[in-house]
């Protein structure tokens, strides 16, 4: 049984269909990436998976029908989204943002403290800045906080919307290393990225989304050598 199985998903904004007949699945422990040009519907796909947008089609999570669960219930079940605009608690401190990340497991005090230490260990910068308000962080620090807050929720399926957006190349490499290392802790990832090469190098499986429809899919190391993709998404080298 797949961890997440989406079949024939349609999502529309009013009359505009942003996602059409999309089917994809993620096995436990896999990293799956969705790449595609601007406006292809990647963010829309993640928002619908999280339950932030209404959709039609089938969505099964560990065999359970996701459509009967609201956003908060999905978080409790282990589906955690790092949205494109991060949605941090701007007026609150870094440490409060992280503590609130564990809200869905609020009764596991000891576990959450361990988890907080682990996040600070992963992102020492956040430990330095723990008393600072989230809206005073630099762009890169914000990305770390968004990822850290998501990890505090003990995700089983992490939905990442462009985690490398606006980061310096060195940090981008770090972020992808962290994503790859999540696999060892049993977290599955659905990764949306503009940085197609890095995404395919990290992922097991890739899908290509164009104007709301999936036009290619396959093992990531096959896609990375596909001449058509190299021409459109992966650049010359």
């Amino acid at each position: 049984m797949s961890l997440l199985a989406i079949r024939s998903l349609d999502v529309s904004y009013g009359k505009v269909e942003a996602v059409r007949q999309v089917s994809l699945s993620i096995e436990a422990g896999q990293i799956v990436t969705v790449i595609g040009p601007n406006g292809a519907g990647k963010t829309t796909l993640l928002a619908a998976t999280m339950g932030l947008l209404p959709s039609t089609g089938e969505m099964l999570y560990e065999g359970r029908d996701l459509r009967r669960m609201d956003v908060e219930a999905r978080v409790e079940a282990g589906i955690v989204l790092v949205p494109e605009n991060r949605e941090l608690f701007g007026d609150m401190s870094v440490s409060d943002n992280l503590i609130l990340g564990a809200y869905s497991h609020r009764h596991d005090g000891a576990g959450n403290r361990r988890n907080l230490d682990a996040v600070y260990h992963r992102f020492p910068r956040l430990l330095e800045r723990r008393h600072q308000k989230a809206n005073t962080l630099s762009g890169g620090e914000r990305q770390m906080l968004a990822l850290g807050r998501a990890l505090m929720a003990k995700p089983r399926l992490l939905l990442l919307d462009e985690p490398s957006l606006g980061l310096a190349p060195l940090i981008v490499r770090d972020i992808f290393k962290i994503i790859a290392s999540l696999r060892e802790t049993g977290v599955s990832v659905l990764l949306v990225e503009q940085n197609a090469r890095a995404a395919l190098e990290t992922a097991d499986v890739g899908y290509v989304l164009e104007t709301g429809e999936i036009v290619h899919s396959g093992a990531a190391d096959m896609l990375i050598h596909d001449p058509k993709l190299i021409a459109t998404y992966l650049g010359g080298h």
């Binding site: 908060e72 978080v75 609150m92 409060d96 503590i99 609130l100 564990a102 809200y103």
Partner: protein, 347 residues
């Protein structure tokens, strides 16, 4: 005006201002978490005073009927919603939270009826009895339109206030009440007699504001309320249900409104419709705080109290006119800077 009179007026003003502070903070709290400007909030305060007065004369307070009516309405709505969602398992918890919990203070009151209670017990019971009103109104009126614009929510809130005044007349009757003073003691400070009651009023306002601050800073639930106020989508993404934090906000704010009602009831005569005017004065304080800033809101509400006190010395018939027209320039200035605050929140 001699400086003695000025000092007395100032102390009086600070005492009534302290009462408005509690209501004003409640306005800001509810608005921040739910985006509702809860106009009937002054009514909650007045209803607490009326409840306390009924208990003093060993009558059954009309609040019992009001709470029972609202609890039944909310339960019917929530059970219907559960059934429509096909969520049969939720029905027991619905019955528990929407029917049983609000009816506990009503039942307590029923059994305690006719007995002579001490003043703290009367106060505690009155407070307990008004607590369910605002959260139930939230479920009945606001939750079905939670995604509406702030303006629509305000309009509905206004209508709700008038409905509640009607219910107030039905359940409490038209008579005005004034409860026994909290204490007759007074102290002499710098040659002036200051009643202990004044200290109790100001002290309560300070203590409850501090408790609220501690709750926001130190507890996870308090942080969840702030998180909902700062970023609703972000809150949902970490598993905080806005409906839950909304209910918490209404309960907390009702504690503040209830306390303000208890404090004001020995100071002035309260009718079923007195709430609107307290509400309006407190609301001015909240506007001075731009509906977001708790300390400025508290200062604003104090200012209203002091202005009111001096105005009633100059001309008691025109006291409201003086207070509200003096505040016009302040409001105008604040409404210009509120625009900036909202722009900041946008980005």
């Amino acid at each position: 005006m001699s400086s003695d009179i000025a000092a007395i007026l100032a102390i009086d003003g600070i005492a009534s201002g302290a009462i408005y502070v509690l209501i004003a903070i409640g306005f800001v709290l509810i608005f921040a978490v739910t985006r509702v400007i809860f106009v009937p909030f002054g009514d909650i305060s007045a209803f607490t005073a009326l409840t306390l007065a009924a208990l003093e004369t060993q009558r059954l307070p009309g609040t019992m009927g009001l709470v029972a009516l609202l609890a039944v309405m909310a339960t019917v709505m929530q059970v219907t919603a559960d059934l429509q969602a096909g969520d049969h398992k939720a029905i027991p918890s619905t019955l528990f939270f929407y029917l049983l919990v609000p009816l506990v203070p009503v039942a307590l009151m029923w059994f305690a009826a006719g007995t002579v209670m001490s003043m703290p017990v009367r106060m505690g019971l009155s407070l307990l009895l008004v607590l369910p009103i605002a959260p139930l109104l939230d479920r009945i009126v606001f939750r079905p339109i939670a995604d509406a614009s702030v303006l629509l929510l305000l309009t509905v809130s206004m209508a709700l206030h008038f409905a509640l005044v009607g219910l107030g007349l039905m359940f409490f009757g038209p008579e005005g009440v004034r409860t026994q003073p909290l204490t007759d003691a007074s102290w002499e400070i710098a040659g002036m007699q200051v009643s202990l009651q004044t200290f109790l009023i100001v002290g309560s306002a300070v203590v409850f504001s501090a408790l609220l601050y501690g709750f926001f800073e130190l507890t996870l639930t308090g942080k969840a309320l702030r998180a909902t106020a700062v970023n609703r989508t972000g809150a949902r993404l970490v598993g905080i249900r806005p409906a839950y934090t909304g209910t918490m906000a209404y309960v907390l704010a009702s504690v503040l409104a209830g306390i303000s009602g208890i404090l004001i009831s020995p100071v002035t005569t309260i009718f079923y419709d007195s709430g609107f005017l307290f509400g309006l004065r407190a609301f001015v304080g909240a506007i001075i705080g731009a509906m977001v800033n708790y300390p400025v809101t508290a200062l604003g509400a104090l200012l209203v109290g002091v202005l009111e006190s001096f105005a009633s010395f100059w001309s008691s018939a025109f006291k409201e006119v003086i207070v509200f027209s003096l505040l016009l320039p302040v409001l105008l200035w604040r409404s210009l800077s509120v625009g900036e605050v909202e722009d900041e929140a946008e980005e």
